[in-house]
Point group: C2
Chain length 323, copies 2
Amino acid sequence: MDLNEIILPIKEQIKLFDAEFKSAIRSNIGLVDIIARYILRQKGKKIRPILVLLSAKASGGINKSTYRAAALVELLHTATLIHDDVVDNADTRRGLASINAAWKNKIAVLMGDYLLSRGLLLSLLNGEFEFLKVSSVAVKRMSEGELLQIQKSRQLDMDEETYFKIISDKTASLISTCCELGAVSATKDEGIVAHLRNFGEYLGMAFQIRDDVLDYEGKKATLGKPIGGDIRERKVTLPLIYAFENAPKQTGKSVLRLLKNGKRGSRIDEVIKFAETYGGIGKAHEKAEDFILRARDELNDIENSDAKESLLKLTEFVVDRVN
Amino acid sequence: MDLNEIILPIKEQIKLFDAEFKSAIRSNIGLVDIIARYILRQKGKKIRPILVLLSAKASGGINKSTYRAAALVELLHTATLIHDDVVDNADTRRGLASINAAWKNKIAVLMGDYLLSRGLLLSLLNGEFEFLKVSSVAVKRMSEGELLQIQKSRQLDMDEETYFKIISDKTASLISTCCELGAVSATKDEGIVAHLRNFGEYLGMAFQIRDDVLDYEGKKATLGKPIGGDIRERKVTLPLIYAFENAPKQTGKSVLRLLKNGKRGSRIDEVIKFAETYGGIGKAHEKAEDFILRARDELNDIENSDAKESLLKLTEFVVDRVN
């Protein structure tokens, strides 16, 4: 599934979004503007603004406030990425040096705060309070989800329910926000808004499960990031949770000990093997497919259109991607 | 001037603020709540909520939305401090270990983002959009001011006008926001709101100039932070700007070279001596007093009350403080 095909119904609108985002990010303070222009060069896939635009088009039509919603979510997402790179000491982002690597941590943290405030002001100054409410809840949930994951990875104490809460908060909340804001910008029909919100929630769940499975599937994902990152950080994700459920108690216990105390190299290989052996990877795959089906179901009551078709194709893109 | 005396007119109301802040910061996620309770133990002087409460009382009376405004500014301020400690690698804050020292950078950045979103949600969910607008502009200005200061300290290129813009953005904006929000919560009279906003702006300017002068006056400020921190970071602040204006061109040039290339120890001593010799410290003092007079003037048209009296006393507190 090719992203270029998915975005066909909004090809011209993406250009208008680019202009909106550019004007929302730039500044008359020299250093801020230099970094802003650098961020514009770090081209991402723009999945979130694409979701806003497609959701709006599928539920009534794109208008001026849709572009502001798209710029808002991209500003929040960019701010989060910059803060993430600080905390992870990441050197690169989207093929260029990260902001913290190019300009130091201090500037990166401030730049993240700056982008957050620009996003909020964009909605505030246009009186789009519903956008603000939805997106502020998402910002809160994203930080809470990350913090809950850190807490659980210290305790190595995780079950399916907690895992779903974490990924719903840290990932699905913003994806869901994108679809909800797109719909809110286009229609007053609360039923449609709810369907798009749920579509985004389930799509986000599938997206994160796929991401977590990819951490166990290095060979297939040849272009992706190195495998085993989550295991290194002692994050217990879905493949491992399901393997623990299936494995004999004693085997599970010894893997837990390995996660806690094992040497890095052997730890990663053995944990991956354990997740494979006890069907954790396969079952996690199935769960991602489940969420995709639930996402698609949410669109049943939405009128057919090229934009709806693209949203459905996006669900395939999410599970098929290899990085 | 004693802070305990200043807060007498709002002694009971500070307790109600404490309760509001506590409920705004706590979480049902274990780790988040542990850190929230830790933050509650790091007691600061609460200057910002005090300003909100006094401004409201001086302009009509404290009500429920005043407490939310006070909690909002304290949440934003706390978030900023936590992010500052990450970027400065600070080990302590208010006599306790900083969040980054106690829990690592990753958690501190996320906790800052969490507190920002809690502040915004507090206003959003109560429909207090004016609070949001004023405080989002302040968050934007705070990050822009810090970034402009970093830009200028790289270029060692600073004049009085740029310096005033920087401290207005990075410090006075939030102090001004406190006074404005207090007034907005209490009255619809735009004249009163403007007076309180300006009072806060001038008070904030004086506060930051005093802070920057303290960096040159270690002996007097026996309890404060070590002197010369700004010089070490090549921040050109007001004492130095004025000294450059008064000094012979050649002497100024050699101090600039020293700032750029000199060894730390000698650099700090010589720069302080230079600022003293050419009257920079004295003139910066006078400028702080000027701003205090302008702040006090703004209150001329405000009806007399114990709260107004306390705001006037606060102006003395700001210039008399030694740390």
